[in-house]
């Protein structure tokens, strides 16, 4: 294989970041976290405990020693996310800060507000809708070409696991030879919560690579995402290199990993409900409702952690300054006081805010892009795979995990 001399692999090339990351997000017990959380929400809203321990996922080594509180009630979750003066994103300096750097995620206002607007410009609905034709369609059609003659496929292993990442490589216009190591380093970053040393190593190597891309492209006038962000300007202010590189470091995880998981769960929801699948297939105007319902029903991100900056009282619980507050946004989306029969996937619901993209100042900056990607992906699957349905030879798909939830497989058949 041709190896690039522009990007450095891990010192130990046998380190497998993919397996390490998967182990950090899956629940050891395999129990449905939503059943447990629903039962607890009937008692009260705020609990002093670590949700990871409660739900059987490994502890986050970077959060050791912090008092921890889990917030389940919808009104309290909303309050946490809309009151950043009390509930700060600087909690992320401990993990994301180490591996991504000074990305938007670790910042509070006023710094956050300023940089957020510069980045948001590149992800406005009018901008990302153009990428549907130029970036997204070629990727999804190309991938489906690879298996459409077979009559069966695992849509996770053959489609959703690849498409958002390939879209990012195109956005960044990465040289083909750099991609394999690039992806490995990017996944390595997210191992920080269970393997700090490899996370930091990945961060340094990816940072050096992005600095190289920035140098090459800063004044080139290109239209790729690196060039666009390097030239973004509001009232004469540009993004500092460190902030820009940190954003790019975060992209694989924030944009790729989430979209892969959300699309997989969308397919699981639709294919497991053939009447709804048929309705959407026949009337594509229903796609937006299907996407919003999937993000409500199985949001990949189920928890938004924040740090208390001063003592606060929430649901009559006294919380000290310096505590980890876990706003359980996934549980918000299953609150029976907001959604009738919340565990059911039902695209016919009346539109009502969900927290699949969170809420408040840090609400997902890429939500408009994610919707374009998922819309194009679903349309392409319907167009190329007639009579798409679950494969009866396999167990139906099951969305699992504590945070970063996903079905391990979505086995389908179709008329080849």
């Amino acid at each position: 294989m041709h190896r690039s001399n522009r990007i450095a692999d891990f010192d130990d090339p046998s380190f497998d970041p993919f397996a390490t990351f998967e182990s950090a997000t899956q629940s050891g017990s395999g129990e449905d976290p939503y059943a447990r959380l629903a039962e607890m929400r009937r008692q009260k809203s705020v609990f002093e405990l670590d949700y990871r321990e409660l739900l059987g996922s490994p502890p986050d080594l970077t959060m050791q020693g912090l008092p921890k509180y889990m917030v389940l009630g919808a009104a309290d979750i909303q309050q946490v996310l809309e009151t950043p003066q009390l509930f700060s994103n600087t909690i992320f300096e401990r993990n994301v800060g180490l591996c991504f750097g000074r990305s938007l995620t670790v910042m509070d206002a006023p710094e956050h507000t300023r940089y957020r607007r510069l980045f948001q410009k590149a992800f406005m609905p009018s901008v990302v809708s153009k990428w549907g034709d130029t970036l997204v369609d070629p990727v999804v059609h190309g991938l489906i070409e690879g298996f459409k003659g077979k009559g069966r496929a695992d849509l996770v292993r053959e489609f959703t696991q690849y498409y958002p990442f390939q879209i990012i490589y195109r956005q960044l216009e990465l040289p083909q030879a750099d991609i394999a190591v690039f992806h490995k380093l990017a996944v390595g970053l997210t191992c920080i919560v269970v393997d700090v040393a490899h996370g930091v190593e990945a961060s340094q190597k990816l940072g050096a690579y992005y600095a190289l891309l920035l140098d090459e492209r800063r004044n080139g006038g290109g239209s790729d995402l690196v060039s666009t962000l390097a030239q973004a300007e509001i009232e004469g202010e540009r993004l500092p290199d460190e902030v820009l590189v940190s954003f790019l470091r975060q992209l694989i995880n924030a944009a790729g990993d989430t979209t892969y998981r959300a699309t997989s769960s969308l397919l699981a929801g639709l294919l497991s409900n053939p009447d709804q699948l048929d309705a959407v297939r026949r009337d594509r105007a229903l796609i937006p409702a299907a996407i919003e319902e999937a993000l409500r029903w199985e949001p990949p991100v189920t928890v938004c952690p924040r740090l208390t900056l001063q003592p606060v009282v929430l649901d009559d619980v006294q919380i000290p300054a310096g505590a980890e507050i876990d706003a359980m946004t996934g549980a918000y989306n299953r609150d029976p006081a907001r959604y009738d029969k919340p565990d059911r996937f039902d695209i016919g619901r009346k539109p009502l805010r969900h927290m699949g993209f969170a809420y408040g100042a840090h609400v997902c900056i890429g939500q408009h892009l994610a919707r374009v990607e998922m819309t194009r992906a679903l349309n392409a699957l319907f167009d190329h795979l007639p009579n798409l349905r679950l494969d009866p030879d396999y167990e139906p798909p099951q969305v699992t995990g504590v945070n970063m939830r996903v079905p391990a497989a979505v086995h389908v058949r179709f008329d080849a």
Binding site: M124, P125, S126, R353, A361
Partner: protein
């Protein structure tokens, strides 16, 4: 009828559609949206919205 976009998150307020979920009727002009109204996605105030062509 015009559309207004939040500079912080890209949320779009469409005068023709209003925001019935939040008690703002279809057809409500931007200037008639309450001054203390905040972006329902990110909480940004009205001043940081910009008119956009769709």
């Amino acid at each position: 009828m015009k559309t207004w976009q939040c500079l912080s998150c890209g949320f779009i307020y469409d005068e023709a559609l209003g925001l019935p979920q939040e008690g703002i009727a279809p057809g409500t002009r931007w200037e008639d949206v309450p001054t203390d109204w905040k972006c329902p996605d990110c909480g940004t105030g009205k001043a940081d919205f910009e008119m956009v062509e769709l």
